[in-house]
């Protein structure tokens, strides 16, 4: 078991659409290729696919919301008091 690798793998499939698509086609193979153990790979085969899709969508929407405006904005930052 390598918890650090597992967290890195999860971060990638949560954020990277191409990595997620490859994973969903071959979860076990992608996990093994990323260096995860057979037990970890098996657990990822059983991943909550609905949750993965919803989480990825939510992250994507959050990134879009937080993306800086294309032109300089007069809006103050979150820190302004």
């Amino acid at each position: 078991m390598n918890a650090t690798l597992l967290e890195a793998f999860l971060a990638r499939i949560y954020v990277d659409e191409r990595a997620r698509a490859s994973f969903l086609v071959d979860p076990r193979g992608e996990a093994i290729r990323a260096g995860l153990s057979p037990e970890e790979a098996d657990s990822l085969v059983k991943i909550d696919r609905v949750g993965l899709e919803l989480m990825a969508r939510s992250l994507d929407q959050k990134r879009r919301r937080n993306r800086p405006a294309p032109r300089p904005s007069r809006r103050k930052g979150r820190t302004s008091l």
């Binding site: 954020v15 949750g51 959050k62």
Partner: protein, 288 residues
């Protein structure tokens, strides 16, 4: 610095600044996002100190990633420590989440696999946090849309282990609890029975919305909606079980309603907790 009585407040957001400052007679405490001030100009730090002189503050972190097998970054802890020393808040808090891995920033608070590795990682990270900042954080349960892959225990067991091993207190986010219970089919009252309820020191309240995929729907904790009724009911349940004073914070991150609407939600929270306190007292009197 601990509160002697239950106190109720709101998360500081620039959009709410005027409303908060105009209503400090109805707001006992203000929660500030710590990370927003790590690299802030001196003028913003001075403004924060001015705010701290007017109302008790609590600091809330969002980027440490404490519940991880990866050691928390020293630089972020040192920034937290400097801000803590600068503002002297009532407490500081962070999430039991991982936020990055393998160089990838998730941009969100993700629930890690609930395993021995993340219990031990959280314990080590919380010890480092305590050492660098000088005070341990309250740790917060997070909402998740995905059942954390690779887990070998449920959320209540995982949080209970971390709290017991780290000796940290809990910032119990009741909307996160409600959302996870709704999405993954467990009883939130059973969760309250299984965690060390005496360790709950603070409460978060928020709202969310339903999202769907593959014919299923789940509750997203988005902080963009009003606090739903079941969350107030959970606050009453906590009041009936926990005896120490609680700091209750209403979180709102957008789609801002009027300040009066937020203050009404704060009043509902006061009433809900008061109701639980009465039940707690009545139970104590019965037992005596």
């Amino acid at each position: 610095m601990t509160a002697k009585a239950d106190s109720f407040g709101i998360g500081w957001r620039p959009e709410l600044a005027g409303g908060i400052l105009a209503n400090l007679d109805r707001i006992d405490v203000v929660e500030v996002i710590a990370d927003d001030f790590f690299d802030a100009p001196g003028s913003h730090r001075r403004a924060l100190r001015t705010l701290a002189a007017q109302v008790p503050l609590v600091l809330h972190g969002v980027t440490l990633g404490l519940a991880s097998a990866v050691p928390v970054e020293t630089k972020r802890l040192e920034q937290t420590a400097r801000l803590f020393d600068d503002v002297r808040p009532r407490y500081w808090s962070e999430h039991l989440a991982f936020v990055r891995g393998g160089g990838v920033e998730i941009g969100h608070l993700a629930a890690p696999p609930r395993t021995d590795a993340t219990v031990e990682g959280a314990e080590a990270n919380l010890e480092r946090a305590r050492r660098v900042v000088g005070v341990p954080p309250l740790v917060e349960n997070v909402a998740t849309l995905i059942d954390p892959p690779g887990s070998d225990r449920d959320e209540a067991e995982w949080i209970d282990e971390i709290l017991r091993r780290s000796n940290c207190d809990l910032l119990l986010d009741l909307h996160n609890l409600f959302a996870n219970a709704t999405n993954f089919g467990f009883d939130p009252l059973d969760f309250l029975r299984r965690i060390p309820i005496g360790g709950v020191a603070a409460i978060h309240l928020a709202g969310g919305k339903w999202v769907g995929a593959g014919g299923e729907r789940r509750l997203l904790d988005d902080h963009l909606h009003d606090v739903p009724d079941p969350v107030y009911q959970l606050l009453t349940e906590v009041g009936a079980r926990a005896h120490r004073p609680l700091t209750v914070i209403l979180e709102r991150d957008g789609c801002y309603p009027s300040m009066e609407c937020l203050l009404v939600q704060l009043e509902r929270a006061r009433a809900a907790l008061r109701e639980g306190r009465k039940r707690h007292t009545a139970r104590g009197e019965e037992a005596a």
